[in-house]
């Protein structure tokens, strides 16, 4: 048998095996190197994007026009691109390195309207009506664009003698720009403060939250919010009527807020009116917030709303003490009926038109909340912050997927 070529063949086989191993090693090394480079470039791209976002926010605060197109971060390299056409939805893309790694950051630039500096902010008059005077105690600033009117039903008597109200810092005749909130032009027709702007705003708010945190109801009728299970963790309830003054009224029973849990922060938005029966003081959860935004009238009736399960209709129960912790805004007027007892509200109350207090000898304490100025914006409220003068903040920083 002739085996003279076997050594050559064997050496070929050995070389082939070695070549396969070597190729595998090279491939793995190249892959590791590429992964490392990509990771490093991605981290650097993140900080380039962060640089862009900080530059954009600085420009926003100083009123400087945002740069158009990619801007090089120098030194360090990498480029960022700022898209700040809508300050509520700023997007900055950072790009870095030979892998062209990209990271995208989003945030909202907001200007907090002056009305949020006030505890009680009224676009027109503060009217006291009813048969008995009330004791109103307002901590912080009370600002009215109109004036205080005492319009007691028993007008023969001078109830001002009994009026035991106390305002820490009270001013009348203030400019409406400091007491009211407009609705930005969300339907882009060149006009602000329209009902359709409000509806569009509500829809956009709904879109910005995960569906698990939102309840969105479109209705021709009225919605009753009572002791809803699993309400904890929700951020937005948006009730949209069919058209202005038609459908979408919301009634919040006194059983609703107690279903919230500590730390919950919920905003109820209605395209029509909201009637809120404050819960018993002791039942309002600690460190929870129930906020309200409505286009129509905001009512806070004198008595509790109670469902009678046997008769299937609602009835009224007498008021003693009630409490709310949250920010309340109505684009229209507000009507607070106060029966004997005590109520305590912590937050900001912004009423674009009259606030009518229909009282029957009671006490109302309103305490200021500075949460907005601490950058703790309640769900949905940033959409009420249009352009203009006022303290500017960056909120809702997040990295895009």
């Amino acid at each position: 048998m002739n085996n003279r070529g076997i050594a050559l063949i064997l050496s070929y086989v050995v070389i082939m095996v070695l070549t396969i191993f070597a190729t595998a090693f090279i491939a793995r090394t190249v892959s590791d190197t590429n992964l490392t480079a990509r990771y490093m470039d991605s981290t650097k791209a993140f900080w380039v994007a962060e640089a862009g976002l900080n530059q954009a926010y600085y420009n926003y605060k100083k009123g400087i026009a945002q740069p158009v197109g990619p801007v090089e971060l120098n030194p360090g390299g990498g480029t960022y691109t700022i898209d700040a056409a809508n300050p509520m939805a700023v997007k900055v893309t950072g790009t870095f390195g030979r892998t062209s790694a990209q990271r995208i950051l989003r945030a909202s630039f907001i200007t907090i309207p002056a009305a949020f500096q006030n505890t009680l902010s009224i676009g027109r008059h503060l009217r006291f009506t009813g048969s008995q005077p009330t004791a109103l105690e307002v901590d912080g600033k009370t600002r009215l664009s109109g004036r205080l009117i005492r319009d007691w039903r028993h007008s023969q008597r001078d109830f001002s003698f009994y009026l035991d109200s106390w305002f820490e810092d009270y001013k009348e005749g203030v400019s409406v720009s400091d007491t009211t909130l407009g609705i930005p032009d969300y339907n882009h027709n060149g006009r602000e403060n329209e009902y359709d702007d409000f509806v569009q705003m509500g829809r956009q708010i709904v879109d910005t939250y995960p569906t698990s945190e939102v309840i969105y109801i479109k209705t021709n009728g009225e919605v009753l919010l009572s002791d809803i299970s699993n309400i904890s963790g929700k951020k937005i309830i948006f009730v949209e009527g069919r058209r202005e003054n038609y459908g979408g009224d919301v009634t919040i029973s006194h059983l609703f807020a107690p279903a919230l849990k500590t730390g919950d922060d919920l905003t109820v938005i209605s395209t029509n009116s909201v009637t809120y029966y404050l819960p018993w003081e002791s039942l309002f959860p600690e460190n929870a917030h129930l906020n309200i935004i409505c286009w129509g009238v905001y009512r806070q009736p004198a008595r509790y709303f109670q469902i009678n399960p046997r008769r299937h209709y609602s009835e009224l129960a007498p008021q003693t003490t009630g409490k709310n912790d949250g920010i309340i805004y109505t684009h229209d007027w507000a009507d607070w009926g106060l029966a004997s007892g005590k109520r305590s509200i912590t937050g900001n109350i912004i009423v674009n038109r009259d606030l009518v207090i229909d009282s029957e000898e009671c006490r109302l304490d309103i305490n200021y909340s500075d949460r907005i100025f601490r950058g703790d914006i309640p769900p949905g409220f940033k959409w009420l912050f249009g352009a203009g003068e006022g303290p500017k903040y960056i909120v809702d920083w997040q990295e895009a997927e």
């Binding site: 050594a7 070597a22 090394t29 490093m40 981290t43 650097k44 993140f46 926010y57």
Partner: protein, 123 residues
């Protein structure tokens, strides 16, 4: 016999080659791993720095509070690379340019570093 010698030489060359590749791969893997760790440490520092008010960032960085020696890294619960240290520099007033440089020693190579740059402004 000549053929056997030739085959052995070729085989030897091949084995030497593969050993060289292996060693190179091992070295590159360590190098890549170190680069990842160093980048992570710089990233960690910047993320912490970013939480502070701008004035505090300026004063603390200028005082050297954000220059971390291997001892500082250990004290913060970070396992440092060989001879690793982090230096933080600031320039400007508002927005400020922040540069974080992580330096470490790598066996068989000169000292290496990774640099992260960003801008921070008053919030």
């Amino acid at each position: 016999m000549r053929r056997v010698i030739l085959a052995s030489v070729i085989g030897l060359l091949g084995v030497t080659g593969i050993l060289a590749f292996s060693s190179n791969q091992a070295f590159l893997n360590i190098s890549n791993r170190n680069l990842l760790i160093a980048t992570n440490h710089a990233d960690y520092l910047l993320k912490n720095l970013k939480q502070l008010p701008l004035d505090t960032v300026l004063s603390e960085v200028r005082q050297g509070a954000w220059n971390w020696s291997p001892k500082d890294l250990v004290a913060k619960g970070i396992i440092p690379l060989a001879g690793e240290s982090i230096e933080t520099q600031v320039n400007g007033t508002n927005p400020i340019r922040v540069t974080v440089i992580t330096r470490w020693n790598e066996s068989g190579r000169k000292n290496r570093n990774v640099v992260l740059n960003t801008l921070l402004t008053k919030h």
